[in-house]
Subunit: 155 residues, 2 copies
């Protein structure tokens, strides 16, 4: 059992981790910008973003600024960002709020094999390479991976 070889440091009861034996994808991420929020530590971060929460600044790297053309017409955006402080080896987790142990894929915890967060944000304004948005939940300095118009699934 992979889980038996788990590193046990910092785990809560019932949690399990494994040695991530990387079959690393031949895929590299580019950080296309950085997110600035009022939260300097993970402990300060809200558990979930709030579209009426504090204004945050998303700074786009110069290389990618021209990819923002047309962005101001959207009220809502989906941001993907890289939770760079997260351990990536947990398979079972025991949420801090207590309750049951869950598999990583049954949780939106930042601790996951590919720590990519996805948040819906309200776009307030665009100023050059900066987007001002509400709805984020991450610590300041978090690397940005992608910006997409809000997704409206056909229900």
């Amino acid at each position: 059992m992979e889980a038996k070889r788990a590193a046990s440091d910092g785990l809560r009861p019932g949690e399990a981790a494994l040695s991530v034996e990387p079959v690393p994808a031949p895929a590299k991420l580019y950080f296309i910008g950085r997110i600035f929020t009022p939260w300097a530590t993970r402990e300060e971060c809200p558990r979930q973003g709030d579209l009426h929460g504090p204004l945050c600044r998303v700074e786009i790297a110069e290389t990618w600024v021209s990819a923002l053309v047309g962005i101001q017409s959207f009220e809502r955006l989906q941001l993907l960002y890289w939770m760079h402080l997260s351990r990536r080896d947990l398979v079972l987790q025991n949420p801090r709020q207590g309750g049951e142990v869950h598999g990583t894929f049954a949780l939106r915890s930042p601790l996951r094999p590919n720590p990519i967060a996805s948040s819906l944000v309200a776009l307030e304004r665009v100023e050059g390479a900066s987007l001002f948005v509400r709805g984020l939940d991450c610590i300041t300095g978090t690397p940005l991976l992608d910006i997409k118009p809000e997704h409206c699934p056909r229900a």
Copy 2:
């Protein structure tokens, strides 16, 4: 202007690309599984997923199967996957359907610096390492990056 050094192959009028001068993130992705759909080529893929569309199979790599614990209690899941065939250097795009040129971040096109797709899917059933879902839009064989319970933003 970065855009002036664009590779011009395969571009439609008004489109622009740049030399992605990688500031590669120190971040590697793990492919945690693979998605099997009825679509063998990009041309066959629907433009957008449909929660009543065809049943697709998501196969989780053995290493990560225990991270599925609890997943069956969700009707809707968010899947993140890697659009491995996409070029990553486009900053301006001219959608096939015609219309205006848009910045990459104002489109949900698969062509983006980090070609991570995010889809909401309806979970039909779980069988061992396989999830059967509806709502996908990608070609068969697409690498899976993450599974999360559906996000319900506080509006």
